[in-house]
């Protein structure tokens, strides 16, 4: 069964979730991956959306973070201040799923402005949403992002959400309670932080993709793990489940982009076609 790079990315992201995990999930790719996991190997995955819906069990993919189906299927719906203070900040969520417009080698995320001057940005992006505190407080963070030299940069223009900051020890110095990014899942492969240097390192590669391809679409000198492995192609049941989920989305006249917690936006007009989802 043939599949697209995006499908490979979503299925790989779904594999990162284990059953009964609590997952703070943004709309867009993270929500697709989390709902795919729930529809396949992790039926008791606990989805938490920043709209205050805890344990949402949508039968169809929600288009927005506040769709009625999230409230109607949730175990509990709480206020927005409560979801951030009692449920996220307290450190009780296993995994946070984030998107990014820019990502650097220490896993720091930019979803605010492109360009050096905050006051006069080259491109104004949506901003932080829930991402900074998801990145700070979840036990681990998974970033999902399409890979290019424009999105994978040596140093982000603006640190919206902290990954490993300046490197080892940064999170501890800043008092960030979660462990930070455990993996970055792209349309080409998977990067994981080096335990010594905290630098994102290529550790998984998709079938048919070469290391040179990936290095060519990375804005820093990407290191390759000694344990680099090829990741399995999506299974037929997974692809069927994913396509079934996507078919439940409302017809859309524009490309979809992951909003809110998974904040990301077109980086340039061209990017609307290329990188947005």
């Amino acid at each position: 069964m043939s599949y697209t790079a995006d499908e490979m990315m979503t299925v790989t992201a779904a594999h990162a979730l284990r059953d009964q995990m609590t997952c703070f999930v943004g709309i867009g790719l993270p929500s697709e991956a989390a709902n795919l996991a729930r529809a396949t190997h992790a039926p008791n995955l606990i989805l938490i959306y920043e709209s205050g819906t805890i344990g949402a069990k949508p039968g169809v993919l929600p288009l927005s973070i506040g769709d009625g189906i999230l409230a109607e299927t949730a175990d509990s719906v709480v206020s927005v201040p409560e979801i951030f203070n009692y449920w996220l900040q307290s450190g009780r969520i296993d995994v946070g799923f984030l998107g990014a417009a820019q990502l650097d080698k220490f896993g720091n995320i930019n979803t605010t402005v492109i360009g050096d001057d905050y006051a006069d940005p080259r491109v104004r992006l949506p901003g932080a949403g829930g991402a900074p505190e998801i990145a700070a407080a979840c036990r681990e963070v998974i970033v999902v992002i399409r890979q290019s030299r424009r999105t994978f940069v040596d140093r982000v223009d603006f640190v919206t959400s902290v990954g490993f900051g300046d490197g080892p020890g940064s999170r501890q110095r800043l008092g960030l309670t979660g462990a930070g990014p455990s993996r970055v899942i792209t349309d080409l492969g998977v990067l994981t932080p080096d335990p010594q240097t905290s630098e994102l390192t290529l550790s998984g590669i998709y079938p048919g993709v070469s290391v040179a391809d990936i290095k060519g679409r990375t804005g820093w000198d990407l290191r390759v793990s000694a344990d680099l492995s090829e990741l399995p192609a999506p299974s037929e049941p997974e692809l069927t489940a994913l396509r079934g989920l996507l078919a439940t989305m409302p017809a859309s006249k524009a490309d979809r982009v992951p909003p809110a917690a998974a904040a990301s936006a077109p980086v340039t007009a061209r990017a609307t076609e290329g990188a947005a989802r």
Partner: protein
């Protein structure tokens, strides 16, 4: 006790030029009709506050009502950019827009501090981000017990809160349910408030997950059926996802936007929006509910 008045009266009484206005509703229950009325009454120099200034503030910003925006995520959810917002930030059209941006957790805590009568709130946030240095009203505090460094955010105390709810009773008690967001904090943090409702009922039947705002904590209630459109009111209407998608094209171009505003806001009769009005809106963008 809340006064039950028309939408035009509520906005005229509550929202003045130069005010700080917070219109809340987290995807659900966004007070769009009230936003249109503010545009129609041509308010100027507003400081607009909202966690997710989606289409509602794209319209107010594009119409030239705002001089400043306080927010945490400015996008068209599930669709893409807010073109009027970006045009204001990037090209000062139609007027320059000052911004003060936070994270969602920061905004939620700023509202909580305001609702609690405190000058600030503390959270684990901002540390290590570039936001901390760009945003006013963010400071470091040290825990007097553990010496941990945390972040203080200053309280939000808007002049006016504007929210939409499903129901009010004849005394002006308000009830809403579903995703309840940050509206309680927004209303309680603000000096005045306008609540548009789908309907007035004799008795507010208790509902699972409902928030009730007592009449004495609300300033004005106006009946505006469909007043959240293209957002929704659980139990009354569905989110008009197609309008969110259509907004991308409407708002991308200044002339198209201005024509839309003319037709759908300025040349629409003042007073309560209604299901008929919403049907017109929906029809004009080629969508069905």
């Amino acid at each position: 006790m809340a006064e039950i008045v028309s939408l035009a009266e509520a906005i005229a009484a509550a929202v003045h030029d130069g005010d700080t206005v917070a219109m809340e509703g987290f995807t659900h229950l966004i007070p769009h009709a009230a936003g249109h009325e503010v545009i129609r009454q041509r308010r100027r120099d507003l400081t607009l506050v909202r966690m997710t200034p989606d289409i509602i503030y794209d319209q107010l910003i594009g119409a030239g009502c705002a001089r400043k925006l306080v927010f945490s995520w400015a996008g068209n959810p599930g669709v893409g950019s807010l073109h009027r917002f970006r045009d204001a930030v990037e090209h000062a059209w139609p007027v320059p827009l000052e911004i003060e941006e936070h994270s969602h957790a920061g905004m939620a805590n700023k509202y909580m501090a305001g609702a609690s009568g405190l000058p600030f709130a503390i959270l684990r946030g901002y540390r290590g981000t570039s936001l901390a240095s760009q945003t006013a009203g963010v400071a470091e505090v040290v825990c007097p017990f553990t010496s941990e460094r945390l972040t203080a955010v200053s309280a939000l105390r808007p002049d006016v809160a504007v929210v939409h709810a499903q129901q009010a009773d004849r005394l002006g008690n308000v009830q809403y349910w579903g995703i309840t967001g940050v509206q309680k904090e927004c209303v309680l943090a603000s000096a005045r408030s306008v609540v548009t409702v789908e309907e007035i009922v004799d008795v507010l039947d208790p509902r699972p997950g409902a928030v009730v705002l007592p009449s004495w904590a609300v300033s004005y209630v106006a009946v505006v059926p469909g007043g959240a459109h293209p957002s929704y009111a659980l139990g009354y209407s569905a989110r008009d996802n197609d309008f969110y998608v259509a907004w991308d094209a409407i708002s991308r171009d200044r002339a198209t936007f201005t024509a839309w505003l003319d037709e759908h806001v300025y040349h629409r009769p003042a007073g309560p929006a209604g299901p008929a009005g919403d049907a017109v809106l929906a029809g004009d963008t080629g969508t069905a509910r």
